[in-house]
């Protein structure tokens, strides 16, 4: 009996908290499904009186969503590939090789986490201009092509690989690179999945840096295009709500399908 009461209290708290955390999204969904007049009702309409998909159809016709989605996908893919490739290559020797300067590299990497660089964006801007990469997707991606955080996460993963594997590869006369690609990488797929997911989220949601680098709004990714839509049509709630839903849904779906890895990865990030 006491246990039932305890469970009841926990469920009530969990549901209240869920309303607090999810309520705004559910309301957004509801606004996006309201027909025009409903949106401007006073008192504010919380639930639609009848459901209509007009907003989605109209905003899809008005804004070139396929283009923004392709832009976002290209930027995200580039970012994820760069990050996986570069952080695996950099983390692997840090975890398994013995060489001079290993501690130096490691300390240097840690120090970048302690020293925050508020000026970084300004210097990035100058660097990208100097490389003539302004207004290109590469310019959007390169400053975040590798992160110290991902290197640490991958190093952690490589540390879990038994040393015998590398030794046995050497016995067979394989080169270091071949050992890495054919023997080691297949064993760290879960780690790769985690940094891949983290970067999918980061690049998908990025809006500020793309706006800074890209002069042409036609090249904007979704999140940036959304600010543009909001600036142009601040009076049309329904459209912006539908546009926001379109931009948010893919990432929520990706998250829901991969949350197990994702959450383990987040948790693993602070293990000693």
């Amino acid at each position: 009996m006491k246990k039932v009461l305890r469970h009841l209290i926990i469920y009530v708290l969990l549901i209240l908290l869920a309303l607090f955390m999810m309520g705004p999204f559910l309301w957004l969904l509801s606004v996006s499904l309201m027909p025009g007049r409903n949106v401007f009702a006073n008192p504010p309409a919380i639930l639609p009186t009848f459901i209509a998909f007009d907003n989605y159809v109209q905003v899809w016709e008005f804004m070139d969503f396929p283009r923004y989605i392709i832009n976002t996908v290209v930027i995200t893919l580039l970012g994820v590939v760069f990050n996986i490739f570069l952080s695996c290559l950099t983390a692997y020797p840090l975890a398994t090789f013995r060489f001079k300067g290993r501690n130096l590299v490691f300390t240097l990497l840690i120090s970048t986490m302690i020293i925050p660089s508020a000026t970084a964006m300004i210097v990035h801007y100058l660097t990208i201009q100097a490389f003539h990469l302004g207004n290109t997707f590469l310019g959007v991606v390169l400053p975040a092509a590798v992160s110290v955080f991902n290197i640490f996460l991958m190093r952690q993963t490589f540390l879990g690989i038994p040393t015998d594997i590398r030794d046995s590869g050497k016995m067979d006369g394989a080169s270091e690179f071949r050992i890495f690609v054919q023997l080691v990488m297949p064993l760290v797929k879960p780690g790769v999945a985690v940094i891949g997911l983290l970067e999918v989220m980061a690049f998908w949601n990025n809006f500020l840096w793309p706006i800074v680098v890209l002069d042409d709004p036609q090249k904007y990714p979704l999140a940036a295009a959304l600010t543009y839509l909001n600036g142009q049509f601040s009076y049309n709630f329904g459209w912006i709500a539908a546009g926001t839903m379109i931009s948010v849904l893919p990432i929520i779906i990706v998250f829901l399908f991969t949350q197990k890895y994702y959450m383990e990865g987040i948790a693993g990030a602070i293990k000693g």
Partner: protein
Amino acid sequence: MYKAIRSESFAAWAFMAPGLLFLAVFTFWPIIYGIPLSLTDYSVITETHFVGLDNFTRAFQDHNFLISLWNSLVYVLVVPVIQIISILMAILVNSRIPGVKMFRAAYYIPVVTSMVAVALIWSWLLGNNGVVNYLLLKVGILSEQISWLSTSSTALYVLMFITMWKGLGYYMMLYLAGLQGIPADLYEAARVDGAGPLRLIIHVTLPLLRPHILFCTVISVMGAVRVFDEVYILTKGGPGTSTLTSSVYIFQKGLEQFNFGYASALGLIVSVMVAALSVLVFRLNRRGGVNTY
């Protein structure tokens, strides 16, 4: 043997070269280059001069910069609130009851969505005729509508609230990982000694979460000082200067007005302050025996 180590060393650097090259250009270079840049009046438009420490003396007389520093400092007050609520959330979602994983995922969704979307949603909810005003009027907490984001006395706190709301799930997961690392027999032993739920939290949970609390505090302090997206999207620092945080001000000076030299100096000042703040947090937690990576 000597040769083996040499070849291993060569291979190591060959592996790391591409990554280190990128880090050199996009992580180390901004830290280094920001310093000489801050000593000039570099601005694309006019010729560049060496101006010595002028930017720094100017910064400390720049009324708006000082206000932005103060606002950033106020913003850090969100940190303890985040820790308390997310620890309580973590304890709640650590219960072993059916369906709890679904709730964990639900609380995490604000974390994975873009700040643009989150900011848009809250700006409507908090608008003059928005749902928040409507509900508060209905319950009788408010007697008249408040336009939360365009009133200078409330705007900064509303932004802090949005930052907190979006981040809670992230910190909850970090604390949950910590809670799951606490051996169950510690709780058993304390219960046998007659400790109630509250004493279990204070005497068992919190001390053992210490490394996690330190980690979360440091990253959320840095996050609060760097806060940019929500402020930039929702208020651009206004009304007046009431929500002007240091990152927004640096961005305005640098990438909107193209005063790269001055903005670099401001960035440097803020960076030093953040570094000092994180050292302080570490010092306060020295007993914690923390192992950062």
